[in-house]
Symmetry: C2
């Protein structure tokens, strides 16, 4: 009798516990069965952006939006990442012959009011084909400041580039002059962060410089911060096991307004091809800008002579003719005083 009582009590207790537990389990399952994780679930700033994908897909409402094969979420076993992927040949924007799966900031600003963009990412792939003598071969742009008036030039492009035979690639950033007068004389001044800058190219179409020391491998995580505060652009690059690197550049006062100011790097490259401009004195002062972030593939058929398989995207993806970048964290917003860092 005593034994039976115990059993009954235990059973009732068990049933109550199981019943209340079931309720909770149901809720948990409901969350799990939410069919798809969107980029906006991983990086919550998506309402601040529009997108152009490598197949020409455009959207200006990116909350709960994804596009198969171009803009979606992958999990690497630890973390959800937003994937930006785009082939060497696809549909391009009005002003470019390069495809992109890239965000464009809705809010616009001028250097004087500024803004801040951050990103933590790993580049998973760049085009494996191209002419080694061309600076933009095997590279993709992972963040930009883009002008929306005048020449619509780019005060900042952050690049990742890796030569085909190398394990490690380079991260560098380019400043495009806001050309005085005709924009046909424009050029990009490039600065290495880790590895080489843009100007380091092969001696022939198929010969590569030696592998950079302190380079960044495909799949290796790094982060950048672009903070334009009161007209000064502050850049910070960080990666575990690498030196943190910082830069400052005024967007209000040119460093390149006289022929005598033009750097050796430019005289040895652009100037030889007749791209021999100088910059307006006030650089990008007062000119409307916006940020871009994602994967702006610099490989194409024309200038880098990269494989494009007649524009067949599936074939390009299957044969290395694409660029792919994964971001796990990113922010966009107001500039911050660099003294508060």
């Amino acid at each position: 009798m005593k034994t039976k009582t115990i059993i009954t009590v235990v059973l009732v207790g068990l049933i109550l516990v199981v019943a209340s537990c079931k309720e909770k389990t149901k809720q948990v399952q409901k969350e799990v069965t939410k069919a798809i994780i969107y980029p906006s679930d991983v990086i919550p700033f998506m309402d601040e952006w529009k997108i152009l994908c490598g197949d020409g897909t455009k959207s200006d409402s990116l909350v709960n939006f994804s596009k198969e094969n171009f803009f979606y979420v992958e999990n690497d076993g630890e973390t959800d990442w937003v994937v930006y992927k785009t082939p060497n040949s696809g549909v391009t924007s009005r002003t470019s012959s390069n495809t992109r799966t890239e965000l464009g900031q809705k809010a616009h600003w001028i250097p004087e009011t500024g803004g801040k963009l951050t990103g933590t990412l790993k580049v998973m792939h760049v085009s494996t084909t191209g002419d080694a003598k061309v600076s933009s071969s095997y590279s993709t742009v992972i963040g930009q400041i883009h002008s929306d008036e005048g020449h619509e030039n780019e005060p900042l492009k952050i690049f990742y580039k890796k030569f085909p035979d190398h394990e490690k690639g380079s991260v560098f950033w380019n400043y495009e002059i806001n050309t005085a007068g005709d924009n046909s004389g424009r050029w990009d001044f490039s600065t290495a962060v880790w590895g080489y800058d843009f100007s380091n190219v092969g001696t022939s179409a198929t010969s590569y410089p030696k592998e950079p020391e302190d380079g960044i491998a495909l799949g290796e995580e790094f982060s950048y911060e672009v903070n334009v505060f009161e007209g000064m652009m502050y850049l910070t690059f960080k990666s575990k096991g690498h030196e943190t690197v910082r830069f400052e550049k005024s967007l209000l006062k040119s460093d390149f307004s006289k022929k005598a100011d033009v750097p050796e790097q430019i005289l040895n490259t652009y100037y030889l091809r007749g791209r021999d401009g100088v910059e307006r004195d006030t650089a990008y002062a007062g000119e409307v800008q916006y940020f871009k972030q994602g994967c702006y593939n610099q490989a194409n058929r024309k200038s880098t002579k990269s494989e494009t398989y007649g524009g067949d995207i599936a074939k390009q993806y299957a044969n290395g003719s694409f660029a792919e970048v994964w971001f796990k964290e990113a922010t966009v917003g107001a500039a911050t005083s660099p003294n508060n860092d």
Copy 2:
């Protein structure tokens, strides 16, 4: 023997279930016992702002921030609201003799790049004392565009004002000219949304105009949208049971640049007191601006002759010498094309 086995199985089962359930219960309790709901839990845009409270409290990190008696969350039985409350006398900003519990936008912009601010609110209280002949008596400003350079004037102030004996008050907006030359000639042109504009005052310190028809009562919900797109300011005001009202005003080209353009409203008020300026031709073009939102109390001891109880905040709160505004929704961000609305 069989009975004993059953008991053992049941007990082991019970222990396992209880153990796994306890884990979940702990998590649930953790969420519930989160002691306080912050304004940033109600309106998620708080990372875009800093604040100045009516007692001089300042903060530029408003995530999980609240300030008792000034900036906190109230529930009206249905909805959580962010409360902005401030006395007639307290600590003021550098450029004002009025206290405020008000957000200031971190990101700055110019009219050409623009921006958008929205808010859904109810005004719960305005000062019950003051001189009825003074336009700013019994009023509070609930949203602004504020210039950050030049004269630091205000292209937009949205007001709520209610005379002490009235049940219904007025919503109106003021445009302050970006004065040509010396700013001592500046003035505000006021436009009624519902009820009266700023210029409608009492004939003596204690006599009020008749109650406005179609006014807004304390506790009555309404919303505003301020969208500055390509230099044009688009205003939309909505409230259930009231007509939706829209306005457009250029911030790039003045309507008031010649004496002949000065409106009757201004000639009959400011001009009689020697505030007889005109506006620069280009209005606020190219001038850095930011949004403000909250409660900027227009009552004070000096100009509106409102009660301040020697600056004792508890006494002011107990005796109607304060303003209090509740917001339940608000957004700030990029401008949108008015054609997409």
